[in-house]
Structure formats: C-alpha cells, structure tokens
C-alpha cells in the first residue's frame, strides 16, 4: 500500500524538554491509525506535527522529517495554510464556529475566496452526508451550530474538516467529550471515512482504538514503543510495555 | 507571512506601542517640570516641611499635609468600603438567589459609574449636613463626609472584583465543601475566600489606588486647606485637589506655581505606581494558581 505519511527520526523539544524521541513511523493511505499511550507521552504533540499546529507553541523545536506523499512538510517553500487544507483536524472538544451550520461547513472554502453559490451548496450537502449529519440538519442549515448536541457538533466539525477535500484527517480524542451514543456514531463515521481519507486518531480509550483502527501505535515517554496491526496489538503485542499498558497493569 | 498580514501587524503593533509613548510622555512631562521645581525647592524641604503654602507670600513646599489629606480620605473610604464590599461579594456569591445576584450586580456597579462631581455634590449637600446632626463641630468642608462618599463609590469596585474572584473559584470546590457538610459561611470563609485571596487583595489595592487618585469629591467637599492632621472633621487638602486648585486659576506657564502641580503630580504618580505594581504582582500569582 501507498505510504501516505512518514516520520523519519523525529525528535521534538519544548524548550529543553525532549517530548518525542527519535520516532519513525509510516502510515498507509486509507487506513485508520490509533495513537495510544499514557497521558503526556506525546501523542497529541506527534499528531500535531502533521499539520504543523505545534508551530504556534512557544519553544517548540523539531528535528527529523515529516513527509506527506513523500514531501517534507516542514520545507521553507511550503505554505502552512496550504498544508492545513490538505490535512484536516478534529479536536477533542467539539468546536464549531458560532455561526450557522451552513457557514461552518463552507468556512474552509470561503477563506480561500470560493464564492460560487452552487459549489458551496453542493459541498455542504456532500460533506454533511459524508459526516452522516445531513438527515438530521438538512431542514435547518441556517440554524446556529451551537444549538446542536455535542455529538452532532463533533460530526459537524468533521464535515467542516472534510470540506476542503483533505487527504489526511487528524483527530485528537474526538469522542472523549461525548456520551457513549454520540461516541459510537462518531466511531461509525470514522470507519466509513477511511475509504477516502488517511485517518490518525489519538485516544485514551483503548476499546475505541480496538474498534476503529487498523493499526495501533503505542507511545510511551515520547518513544514509539510499538506500531502494528490493531489485532496484533490487542491479542499479542510484541513489547511487554505494550502488553502491560493494554492489560492495565501499568505504573 | 504574506505582505498584507505584515502590514496589519505593523499597524496593530504601532497602536500598542503608543501606550508606551503615553507613559514616557507622562514621565517626561512630570519629570521635566519637576526637575526644574526641585532645582528651586530642595527635595528635603519638599519631603519634610510640614506646611504647604505655595500661593502665600511666605512659600512652604512641604508635601506632607497634602499626603496626609490624601491618606486620610482614602483610609476613611476603605474603612467603609472594605467590610461592606466583601460582605456583599460573599452574600451575592453564596447566599443570594442566582436571579437576584444577577440583577443586583449591574445595579451596584452603577455606584461606580456615577460621575465623581455628582458624589462631590452629595458629600457637600447631603452627607455633611446629615453628619453635622451627630457630630457637633463638623466643618462644612471635611474629610469625613468626602471619605464616606468615596467609600460608597468604591464599594462596587471591591464587591465586583471580589465576587469575580470568588466566582472564579471552581464550582467543584464549593460542591466539595458542601458535600462534606459545611455550612455556607464555612464554605465561604474556609474555602472560597482563601482560594480567592489574591483576587480580593487585588480588588482592595485597586480600590485604595482609586481613592488616592480621586479628585472631584474631595475638591468639592473636603475644602482646600492643607492641614497636617488626622482629624476627619476639619477641612483638608489632597494632592489632587491642590492640582485642581492651581489649574482653576490662570497660572502662567513657567511659573513656580505652575511647576508645583507637577511636583505634586509626580508624588501622586509614585504613590499610585507603587500600589498598582503590588496589585499587578498579586494578580500574576493569582493567575498562575488557577491555570
């Protein structure tokens, strides 16, 4: 399969603290990869390397290369705005803009100057359908996004993220603020989206990693301990630290 | 970053930089005139002389009477405002029904929005005559009435900021305390007030600073007589009122009298500067704790 994302000897520092230690990781196209690991092991940090959201953080420093489709995304001549168009992100807490549902979805297009009404309408419908939200909101697209329930908001955020037609979707604990029912809806959605996107999901919920991902990467103290098929990780992990973590015998 | 963004940032940054210019302007203005002033009046005299008579023929330039007046009115104001303000804050935060607290708070804040000339008018025409009924020998212009009204003015400053600080204490802490079987009073004084102590301190210091810099109330109701006294019943003069007094007359630019207001101004500036920085320091500590 095509290697969509590749990290080569990546190290990350926040000022003096070394939070990602020499990580090599390849992610295949159209797969779901879960990042698991104890709190503070660097999952979020590593995830945010892929769309350079870490650049906003003071004291952040990176070594090594992050390639998307074989191209280093930290190159000088690459515009970070363009990168982020290609690499969508969904956050832990649903964070719709305080605007209408419609405007939320088209936000990514509008900031790029797309104004064609038909195109926008089409995009809204397509993305909301893909996000399994269309049926629930099609009659009130002009309603404020804040009036939606938490689970709906999160699916709206996913719809918004896929409106710019990214090829990669990053999700940082996308369901940890949701109740079980909304969670399972979002998980379904992830499952369905993987035919079109390369998805990376950070999760604290081991069961979730089991349910949604094809591959699982276990991080510990900034190291990538093990990355293998989720089935393997959950039935017969190679590293004893992984086994201890997933069986809850840790620390 | 592209060019337009850079431009925007430049403009915004310039606006921010302007605030530095203001400070420099104030410092320069005060200092340059004060330097000339202190070249004529020795600074030791300024700090130790117990009389302030720049407009008399026998001129004395001792800041102490003005300082005493300033501190006296401020003290009276805080003496009234602190207990009342703090009690209000706790009451609104812990006891009052939400809807009541919600509607009463903006009304209380109106106390702080009333222009100070208006308070001056009240002090002079309502409070002092009223107090004269109890305190024989209370002068028509006095520190007590002015200070009391000033206290009313700064009540909301204390109650609002303190309540904000109390409110910022996570709801979970209150629930924890109630869950342990504490009464509201115990919760307020053993958990909330200590947790919000930095914020409350900030509010008090800011209130003092405000009282020290207050002008119109004292200008109208406290008289304009520089007295070195702790007696609240007699007329006094504060640093601010002195400046007003001089400004009212058409004092020629460049005269010594003109410069006295800058000397007085720099004293006031130093005083409030110190207070502000104490509160700033507290606020920083407070913010760190609740991150």
């Amino acid at each position: 399969m095509h290697k969509k994302l590749e990290a080569r000897n990546v190290n990350v520092f926040y000022d003096q603290t070394h939070v990602i230690k020499d990580v090599n990781l390849a992610v295949e196209q159209h797969s779901v990869t879960a990042f698991i690991g104890p709190s503070g092991c660097g999952k979020s940090t590593f995830l945010r390397l892929y769309n350079r959201m870490n650049d906003l953080i003071e004291g952040f420093r990176k070594e090594g290369e992050i390639l998307i489709d074989g191209r280093d995304i930290y190159q000088r001549d690459l515009r970070v705005e363009d990168l982020r168009k290609k690499v969508g992100m969904v956050f832990q807490k649903p964070n719709p803009f305080p605007k209408s549902i419609y405007e939320n979805v088209i936000y990514g297009l509008k900031i790029r100057g797309v104004n064609n009404k038909n195109l926008l309408d089409e995009t809204v419908e397509r993305c909301l359908r893909q996000a399994a939200l269309w049926d629930e909101v099609k009659d009130n697209l002009r309603k404020s996004a804040l009036a939606l329930s938490g689970g709906q908001q999160q699916r709206l955020c996913i719809a918004r993220a896929i409106a710019t037609e990214p090829s990669v979707l990053l999700m940082d604990e996308p369901a940890s603020a949701l109740d079980p029912i909304s969670t399972s809806k979002v998980e379904e959605l992830i499952y369905e989206l993987k035919s079109q996107f390369t998805i990376i999901i950070v999760t604290h919920n081991m069961q979730q990693a089991g349910r949604v991902s094809d591959k699982t990467a276990f991080f510990y103290l900034g190291e990538l301990v093990e990355c293998d098929s989720t089935k393997k990780i959950f039935t017969n992990p190679t590293d004893s630290r992984t086994q201890d973590y997933i069986t809850g015998r840790f620390g | 970053m592209r060019i337009p963004e850079r431009l925007i940032v430049g403009v915004l940054g310039a606006c921010a930089g302007l605030t530095i210019l203001i400070t420099l302007g104030i410092l320069y203005t005060l200092a340059s005139e004060a330097v000339v002033f202190f070249s004529e009046v020795p600074i030791t005299d300024f700090l130790t002389d117990t009389q302030w008579t720049p407009l008399f023929t026998e001129k004395h330039f001792g800041i102490l009477p003005l300082l005493a007046g300033t501190l006296l009115t401020s003290f009276i104001a805080i003496f009234f405002a602190l207990p009342i303000g703090l009690t209000i804050a706790i009451y609104l935060n812990e006891y009052a029904p939400r809807s009541f607290a919600f509607s009463i708070k903006p009304i209380l804040e109106i106390l702080a929005a009333v222009p100070t000339v208006v308070y001056g008018y009240f002090a002079l025409t309502v409070v002092t005559p009223f107090l004269q009924g109890f305190i024989p020998g209370l002068a028509g212009f006095n520190a007590l009435g002015a200070g009391f009204v000033m206290g009313i003015m700064i009540i909301p400053l204390i109650s609002s900021l303190s309540q904000d600080a109390l409110y910022a204490v996570p709801k979970s802490l209150r629930e924890a305390s109630y869950g342990m079987g504490a009464t509201r009073l115990q919760t307020a004084f053993q958990v909330l007030v200590p947790a919000a102590s930095s914020g409350i301190t900030v509010s008090v210091i800011l209130a003092i600073s405000r009282a020290v810099g207050e002008t119109m109330i004292v200008a109208i109701a406290a008289g304009m007589q520089p007295n070195l006294t702790a007696d609240p019943t007699v007329p006094i003069q504060t640093i601010t009122t002195f400046i007003v007094q001089i400004s009212m007359g058409d004092v020629p630019h460049g005269s010594l009298e003109y410069r006295t207001i800058f000397a007085a101004g720099i004293s006031l500036f130093v005083l409030t500067f110190i207070l502000n920085n104490i509160s700033f320091w507290f606020k920083k500590r407070y913010r760190m704790k609740y991150e």
Partner: protein, 285 residues
C-alpha cells in the same frame, strides 16, 4: 448548644448582614438620587437646556456644556476606539511572546491605575502647550482618549481572551491565516465584550472633570463649540463650577445639571449592561 447549631446560627446571621450590606449601597444611591431629583427637577425645562451660561442662576443654562460634552464624547470615541481595539488585538493575538509585548502589558496595567488628573497634566503639557492646540475640544478629547485607552485595551484583551482556544485552533486547522482567524472568528465572537468595554469607557469619559480642568476647560464659555479647535466646557465642569458657588440658585442649577448628567451616564451604562448580558447569553461554548 452544640457546634453544629452554632454554625447554623452564624450562617443565618451572616445572611441577614449580607442582605443589609447589599441594600445599603443601593439605599444610599436612592437617597442621593431622590435628593437631587427633588431639588433639581423643577429647574429642568427647555430654557435650561438651551440657555447659555449666565451670572444669574435663573437665566443660566447648560447648552454650551451639553454641546461640549457631545463634542468631547464624539472625538474621544473616534480617537480611542480604533487605537485601543488595535492595540488590544495586537497584544492578545500577536504580541504574546516578545519582550516588547511584555513591556506594553505591564505598562498598560500601570496606565489603567494612574489617576485621571495626571492625564490632565500630560494633556496640559503635551497637547495644550507643546502641540499648541490650546484649550480646545481637541486637546480635551485627546486627553480623555489617552485616559480611556487602557480601559478599552483591557476590555478588548479580555473579550478576545475569552474566545476559546479551540475556536482559534479550529480556524487555523482549516488553513486560515492568522488575520483571517482574527477577523472572521475572534473579532465577531468578542465584539459584544469590546462594545461593552467601549461604552463603559466612554461613560467614564463623560463624567470626568478633573483632567479637563487641568487641561483648561472653562466653566464659562459663551458659545457652544463649532469646531475641534474651539474652547469648551462640559457638564461635570459646569456642575463643579455651580456647586462651588454659595448662592442657593446655583446649587439648584447644579442639581438639575446632575439629573441630566446622570441620565446620560445611566443610559450609557444601561446600554453596556444590555450588550453584556446579550453577549454572555448568546455565546456559550
């Protein structure tokens, strides 16, 4: 009586005391306002509003002062709002890391605490004398603008800061530039707070007398200002002037003027509170 009972009694006693304190401030305000209305309401008529100042209490009006206040309000707003909001945005959005911003931050905290009369001294030296604007509306407005600048900056920063990080991240992650994020998300989300701050700041400016006295606004100005360079008076100064006179007629006049001034400030505060409440209720994340 056991400990728990004692605690309950203390609790109830404090409740009563708290209610008393809360009402105390309001009662005082009511007494004051009642007093001033009783004394001044009879004096308010069209003549009072349109007459020029006079040596005779019965003929004196507040026209020039009222117009001066309007001029001051308008000019101050025009100067302070753009500068203040811009500075606030810069500090909160761009200037987080550099030392310049740090300096500005400490500086603004200090500026906010400097007594208004000191701004008067600055205005006197800078605008009136150095820039030779004289004792004009413009000089007064500039002075007041400087005075309320920190308030606007702080209000802007606070409402901008209240915009959750998640909203900013959402926009940035969509590929928006920083300015797009600010313009499309942060500003709209914080406009309510900024507006509230601005109105409160202006209402403060309307009530200020001390700095304008120092700058040289005069109690007696024969005509309403017709350009920024004219001399002017404002309501608070007019009141100060009247209240300082011994005649009872002028005291009545001042009470009447106070009614007008209070109406203006209460109105502005009311609007600000309205904005704040609506904004708080509408935006919840």
């Amino acid at each position: 009586m056991n400990k728990v009972t004692a605690n309950r009694i203390k609790d109830q006693a404090f409740r009563a005391f708290g209610l008393f304190c809360t009402l105390f401030g309001l009662i005082m305000l009511a007494v004051f306002v009642g007093d001033v209305v009783l004394k001044g309401i009879g004096r308010i008529d069209l003549d009072f509003l349109t007459n020029l100042p006079s040596r005779f209490p019965e003929r004196a009006g507040i026209f020039t002062a009222l117009m001066g206040t309007c001029w001051i309000l308008f000019l101050t707003a025009a100067i302070a709002i753009p500068v203040g909001v811009s500075a606030g945005l810069y500090l909160e959005e761009y200037g987080r890391k550099n030392r310049f911003a740090n300096l500005v931050e400490i500086n603004i905290t200090n500026l906010a605490g400097i007594p208004s009369i000191i701004y008067g001294l600055l205005g006197l030296e800078l605008f009136v004398r150095t820039l030779k604007l004289g004792q004009s509306v413009l000089a007064g407005a500039l002075t007041l603008a400087l005075l309320i600048l920190p308030i606007i900056i702080v209000a802007t920063r606070e409402s901008v800061r209240a915009v959750p990080k998640s909203l900013r991240e959402a926009s940035l992650a969509m590929g928006a530039t920083k300015w797009q994020t600010i313009w499309l998300q942060v500003l709209p989300a914080s406009v309510g707070g900024i507006l509230t701050g601005v109105i409160l700041a202006l209402s403060r400016a309307v009530g200020e007398a001390a700095p304008l006295i120092v700058v040289g606004a005069l109690a007696y100005v024969p005509f309403a200002p017709s350009s920024p360079m004219d001399e002017f008076s404002v309501l608070p100064i007019q009141i100060f002037n009247w209240v300082s006179r011994p005649q009872q007629g002028f005291i009545t006049n001042s009470a009447a003027a106070i009614i007008i001034l209070l109406m203006v400030t209460f109105l502005m505060n009311g609007v600000a509170i309205f904005f704040r409440n609506r904004w708080q209720r509408r935006v919840k994340w």
